[in-house]
């Protein structure tokens, strides 16, 4: 990876870092933070589902683990917010490795893998709804206490910047992956496992790497979520809403592309917000719009918005060399 490879992610991150300071009101700021959280979760999904071709319905398992770990370590173990966040990411990655180990050992792929991930997420949701350590159905509250070391900012713009920086890190990670041997092997496995194996690729190891990274990134989204809202319950942490939004954003934005998940998250949540503002009080109307967007994407732009932009002639710098044009339909 050369410094030039990082130019585009760095530019996008800088631009997003400035956004909170251009006079956004509170609601817009919240929307921006939420967009970043979903973009992170979707980037995690993209690593496994987009680059690896292993679609998961259960990324909530990683999101929720990150979120709960951040909250519980602070409230019950008395750890600081920052170490809690790091441990949350590590624990999320560990849950990913565990699910991956079981699934890939038995050679699960396609819909079977998707269902297994869903099952794990649901088990975790039900367990955390009754376990004591997670506060059961009442949920868990992190005490409001402003301060940098508590990762709580009186001026919410700084939390937005933190979320943007996390997204920037995920962009750098995926860019590294695209340029590294690991990424080439992951795509090879997605395209044809047998052929990859014949070329000396340890398919199991590559998949394990992918699910661990993927889970770690999505867990980071969960950590930020917990720290942003300072409240968690089982439905929020392990509910299927996050699994679905992560995969929606990744697919609509462009599977197997660097900026796809970010674009997808911004567009989906942006359109959802506009719909809510226009239509008003009908609950769930934004979800209807999500569904329509997903159908339109799959039917007319299988490469997602990133792929569509490229087809219309807005070439991403270095796209030729990445060679992930549109990813997998």
């Amino acid at each position: 990876m050369t410094p030039r490879d990082l130019a585009a992610p760095a530019a996008v991150t800088l631009a997003l870092c400035v956004t909170p300071f251009v006079g956004l009101d509170g609601a817009m700021l919240n929307l921006l933070i939420f967009m970043m959280i979903i973009a992170l979760a979707a980037q995690g999904w993209n690593i496994l589902g987009g680059f690896g071709g292993l679609a998961s319905f259960g990324h909530a398992a990683f999101f929720g683990t990150g979120a709960y770990a951040t909250a519980i370590l602070q409230t019950k173990a008395g750890l600081g917010a920052w170490p809690s966040l790091l441990l949350g990411v590590a624990l999320g990655a560990a849950v990913g490795a565990f699910i991956g180990f079981l699934s890939f050992r038995s050679g699960l792929r396609g819909s079977y893998f998707a269902l297994i991930t869903l099952a794990f997420a649901e088990v975790l949701r039900i367990a955390s709804n009754s376990a004591e350590i997670t506060g059961g159905a009442a949920g868990i509250l992190v005490r409001l206490d402003y301060g940098f070391w508590n990762m709580q900012f009186e001026d919410r713009r700084w939390f937005a910047v933190l979320a943007v920086i996390c997204v920037g890190l995920s962009l750098a990670l995926v860019r590294w992956m695209e340029r590294a041997r690991f990424g080439a092997r992951l795509i090879a496995v997605r395209e044809n496992e047998e052929a990859a194996r014949a070329l000396g690729v340890d398919v199991f190891r590559v998949k394990m790497g992918a699910i661990t990274l993927s889970a770690g990134v999505t867990a980071l989204a969960g950590c930020l979520y917990a720290q942003n809202f300072l409240f968690l319950d089982a439905q929020v942490a392990y509910g299927s809403w996050i699994s679905i939004e992560a995969l929606f954003a990744a697919i609509v934005g462009g599977l197997g592309t660097l900026f796809g998940p970010l674009i997808g998250a911004v567009v989906l949540l942006g359109v959802g917000e506009i719909t809510k503002a226009v239509v008003g009080g009908v609950p769930g109307v934004d979800l209807v719009v999500f569904g329509v967007l997903l159908i339109l994407t799959v039917a007319f732009a299988p490469g997602g918005l990133a792929g569509l932009a490229e087809r219309l002639g807005f070439k991403r710098p270095g796209a030729k060399r990445i060679g992930l044009k549109g990813g997998r339909a």
């Binding site: 090879a188 070329l199 000396g200």
Partner: protein, 250 residues
């Protein structure tokens, strides 16, 4: 270089390969021929580790690799191509080859450079930036060969790389295969095109209904009555001899 001893594979009642033994000598081109359904590809799959043998053992460069998974065999220097070509459709030709080259280097720049060199050598130069899915049949066969070659193998297992090519394409690729051998790569090839087998192979094994029925230099194997019968049916060898004898009398 490669020694397969007594390999047997049964698919629920059907014995696809039955106690077959085969040796690919260091630095030589060895052929494996036989009628359709003889079990050649199954034998290949066992040699490269993609199928588990029910009995028998495989050793590579003096080491027992019977239980070694395919990717480890590739790392040890054994590369294979597939009869049904398996390109990474979403990647460019260069990236396809680079996946092979990545086996020997973690650096992207090096892998890409190596992919360039191997691709050009196999006549894929103009197609390097194209999507692999857009290649012709001949192009895909070359790509299979290029990818395998990019892993810098000591032994190359070629499963019908010439099938589906027209005579002029075959003429183009024969010298390439010979050149690979001349660089010290041992080659074991399944082939249907006899012209190529006669042309390239030092030794030929003949598989019929899962059994090894003949081995030797290609010219000698082609005269073997068992081999002629395997291809043309029972009694064909005797009839041919009779015909030849009759013609001599006239």
């Amino acid at each position: 270089m490669l020694l397969a001893e007594g390999l047997t594979k049964r698919f629920s009642g059907l014995t696809a390969v039955d106690n077959a033994t085969l040796r690919a000598e260091q630095g030589a081109i060895t052929g494996l021929i036989g009628p359709n359904g003889a079990g050649k590809t199954t034998l290949f799959a066992m040699a490269s580790g993609f199928l588990k043998a029910d009995a028998g053992r495989v050793s590579f460069a003096g080491e027992d690799v019977t239980a070694t998974p395919p990717h480890m065999r590739a790392e040890a220097g054994m590369a294979r191509t597939f009869q049904i070509v398996q390109p990474f459709a979403g990647l460019s030709v260069r990236e396809n080859i680079a996946v092979g080259a990545f086996l020997r280097t973690p650096s992207r720049a090096e892998a890409m450079a190596r992919a360039d060199a191997v691709g050009r050598r196999l006549g894929l130069g103009p197609d390097l930036d194209r999507a692999a899915a857009g290649l012709t049949v001949a192009g895909r066969k070359r790509l299979e060969l290029a990818r395998a070659l990019a892993t810098e193998p000591r032994l190359l297992l070629l499963d019908e790389v010439l099938a589906g090519l027209n005579p002029s394409e075959i003429r183009d690729i024969l010298p390439v295969i010979r050149a690979i051998r001349d660089e010290g790569v041992t080659i074991l090839m399944i082939e249907h095109i006899m012209q190529a087998v006669m042309n390239l192979c030092e030794t030929v094994y003949v598989l019929n209904q899962g059994r090894m029925i003949a081995e030797g230099p290609p010219a000698q194997v082609c005269e073997d009555p068992m081999v002629i019968e395997a291809y043309l049916g029972k009694g064909a060898a005797a009839r041919m001899r009779a015909d030849a004898g009759g013609a001599a009398h006239v």
